[in-house]
C-alpha cells in the first residue's frame, strides 16, 4: 500500500532538488556577474587564468578543428557526389566549421579540459578551507577565484574558436587539394566568397557563451564541493557533464535565435 507513495515521494524529492539546483546556479551566476564588474579587480589572476584556459587549450582545439575540417571535407564530397555537387565542399566546410562544429566541438573539448580543472582546483580549496581563509583575509572568493576564471573563459573561447575556424578550414583545404582533386586557388576563393560575416560572428558569440558555461559550471561545482577527496571527485565529474550538456542545449537555443528568429 505504501509502495506508490514511496515512488511519488521519490519523484517529488527529485523534482524539488532539480528546481533547487536551478535556483542556486542562477544565484551563483548573478553573484559571479556582480563580482566581475565590482572592484577590487585582480588583473594578475585574470592573466594567469587566460593563459591556463586559453593558451594551453590551443593544442586541443587546434587538433580537434584540423581533423574535423578534414573529415568534413571527405563526407561532403561523398554526399555531394550523389547529386553532382562535389563543388560545394569548400563553402560547406567553411560554413559548417565556422557556424557549428568549430564552436561546439571546441567548446566540448575545452569543457573536458577546463571545467574539470576549475572544479578540482576550487573544490580542493573548499575542502582544505582555503576558501574560508580567503574570506578571513578580506578577500571575496567570488572576486578572487570565480570572476577571473569566468572572464578568461568568456573572452578566451571566442579567440580559440576563431583560431579553430582557420585551422578547420585548412584541414578541409588539405584534404580537398591533396585527396579530392580541388585546385588550390579555387578552393580558397570558394571558401572566401561564400562565407558571410554573420557566419563568423554567430560562431564567435556562441563560443563566448560556451566559455561562460564552462567556467561557471566548473566553479559552481567546485565551490559547492562535498567534503573530502570523494566530494572533489564528484564535483569534477558533475562539472564536465553539466557543462557539456548545457553547451549542447545552449547551442540549439542560440541557433534558433540567430538563424530563425
Amino acid at each position: 500500500m505504501t509502495y506508490p507513495i514511496h515512488i511519488l515521494a521519490a519523484i517529488g524529492r527529485a523534482t524539488i532538488a532539480f528546481f533547487a539546483s536551478i535556483g542556486s546556479v542562477t544565484l551563483f551566476i548573478a553573484h559571479t556577474i556582480r563580482a566581475i564588474f565590482a572592484p577590487p579587480y585582480y588583473p594578475r589572476e585574470i592573466l594567469k587564468q587566460f593563459i591556463a584556459i586559453g593558451y594551453f587549450s590551443l593544442p586541443v582545439v587546434g587538433l580537434t578543428a584540423l581533423f574535423t575540417g578534414a573529415a568534413l571535407a571527405l563526407q561532403i564530397y561523398a554526399g555531394g557526389a550523389r547529386f553532382n555537387a562535389e563543388a560545394v565542399v569548400p563553402s560547406i566546410v567553411a560554413i559548417g566549421m565556422v557556424r557549428e562544429l568549430g564552436p561546439v566541438l571546441g567548446g566540448l573539448m575545452v569543457a573536458g579540459r577546463v571545467s574539470s580543472s576549475i572544479a578540482a582546483e576550487i573544490g580542493t580549496m573548499r575542502v582544505t578551507e582555503q576558501i574560508d581563509a580567503l574570506t578571513t583575509l578580506s578577500t571575496d572568493p567570488m572576486k578572487y577565484l570565480v570572476a577571473p576564471r569566468t572572464l578568461a573563459a568568456t573572452i578566451g573561447l571566442p579567440i580559440l574558436a576563431g583560431i579553430g575556424d582557420v585551422i578547420g578550414i585548412m584541414g578541409g583545404y588539405l584534404v580537398g587539394t591533396t585527396r579530392l582533386g580541388f585546385n588550390s586557388g579555387n578552393y580558397i576563393t570558394n571558401t572566401i566568397d561564400f562565407l558571410e560575416t554573420a557566419d563568423v560572428t554567430s560562431g564567435l558569440i556562441k563560443a563566448s557563451v560556451f566559455g561562460f558555461i564552462i567556467a561557471i559550471m566548473g566553479a559552481y561545482q567546485g565551490y559547492n564541493s562535498g567534503r573530502g577527496a570523494q566530494g572533489v571527485g564528484r564535483a569534477t565529474t558533475n562539472a564536465v557533464v553539466s557543462a557539456s550538456v548545457l553547451i549542447l542545449a545552449a547551442n540549439y537555443i542560440l541557433n534558433e535565435l540567430f538563424f530563425f528568429a
Partner: protein, 245 residues
C-alpha cells in the same frame, strides 16, 4: 570584546553546539579546550560567519557582528587547524597575502613576510618554497606567520602547537603570549596542549557536549572541582567523559 550569546548549531541530527555563551575581553587571551569533535572549531567558524549558527548572536564591542564583518576581518588573523595555505602561491606570498592588497611594494611585503617567518622559527629559504614542499609542522608555522603578518587586533589560533616538537611548541607559546601582552591583541586559542594553556591563556573555557562545561581564569583551573575539567587536566581514561564519542 567578543561575546557569544546562546549559540546553537546542528548538522542534521548532530547537535554540535547547544547554547554556548562565551566572552573575551579586549586584550585578553582565551583558551578553548575540550575533547576532539566537541565543536571547538565550529565555534570559531560561527563567529566568522563561515558557518551560520542556528540561533544565538555574536557581539563585537557590544554590537552585533552582522553588518560589520568587513571591518572585523580587516583587523583579524586566523590560523586554521589544517593550515589552509594557498597551495598555488609560494610561502612568502601566503604570509604577505593581506599586505599585498595594501599600498606597500612587493619587496616591502616580502621583507615583512620573511621577518614573520623568522618569528615562527622558519629560515629565509623557506620563503620561496611552495606549501606542498613543507613538513606538517612547518605548514602550521607558515599559517601562524600568515595569521600575524598584518599585526591584527583579533587573532584566532586553532591548535597552534599540534604537530610541533616540544621546543617549537615552546617558541610558539611564547610568541602568542608576546602578541597578547606587547601588541594588546585579543586572542582565542583552541588547544589540547595543557602546557600551552598555562603559557598563553588568561581565561579558559572547556567545551563538552556542545556546552561550556567550565569557564574561569587560568589560575583557578587546577583548584576547580569540576569532575569533567579534572579528568581533562589529568588525562585519565576514567571519569565522566566517555572515551568513545
Amino acid at each position: 570584546m567578543i561575546e557569544l550569546r546562546n549559540i546553537s548549531k546542528s548538522f542534521g541530527a548532530n547537535h554540535v553546539l547547544r547554547d554556548v555563551s562565551l566572552k573575551v575581553d579586549q586584550g585578553k587571551s582565551l583558551a578553548i579546550i575540550g575533547g576532539s569533535g566537541t565543536g571547538k572549531s565550529v565555534t570559531l567558524k560561527c563567529i566568522l560567519g563561515l558557518i551560520k549558527p542556528d540561533s544565538g548572536e555574536i557581539l563585537i564591542d557590544n554590537q552585533s557582528i552582522e553588518g560589520q564583518r568587513e571591518a572585523f576581518f580587516a583587523k583579524f588573523g586566523m590560523l586554521f587547524q589544517g593550515g589552509a595555505l594557498f597551495d598555488s602561491l609560494p610561502v612568502w606570498h601566503n604570509v604577505a597575502f593581506r599586505l599585498l592588497q595594501g599600498e606597500r611594494s612587493k619587496e616591502e611585503c616580502r621583507d615583512i613576510a620573511i621577518q614573520k617567518l623568522k618569528r615562527v622559527g622558519l629560515q629565509e629559504r623557506v620563503a620561496d618554497l611552495f606549501p606542498a614542499e613543507l613538513s606538517g609542522g612547518m605548514q602550521k608555522r607558515v599559517g601562524l606567520a600568515r595569521a600575524i603578518a598584518a599585526d591584527p587586533e583579533i587573532i584566532f589560533f586553532d591548535e597552534p602547537t599540534t604537530g610541533l616538537d616540544p621546543i617549537m611548541s615552546g617558541v610558539i607559546n611564547e610568541l602568542i603570549r608576546e602578541i597578547v601582552t606587547e601588541m594588546g591583541a585579543t586572542t582565542m586559542t583552541i588547544t589540547h596542549d595543557m602546557t600551552s594553556v598555562r603559557a598563553i591563556a588568561d581565561h579558559v573555557a572547556m567545551i563538552h557536549e556542545g556546552k561550556v562545561q567550565w569557564h574561569g581564569p587560568v589560575a583557578d583551573m587546577d583548584a576547580a572541582s569540576d569532575p569533567y575539567l579534572s579528568q581533562f587536566l589529568t588525562g585519565s581514561a576514567q571519569g565522566p567523559i566517555e572515551a568513545v564519542r
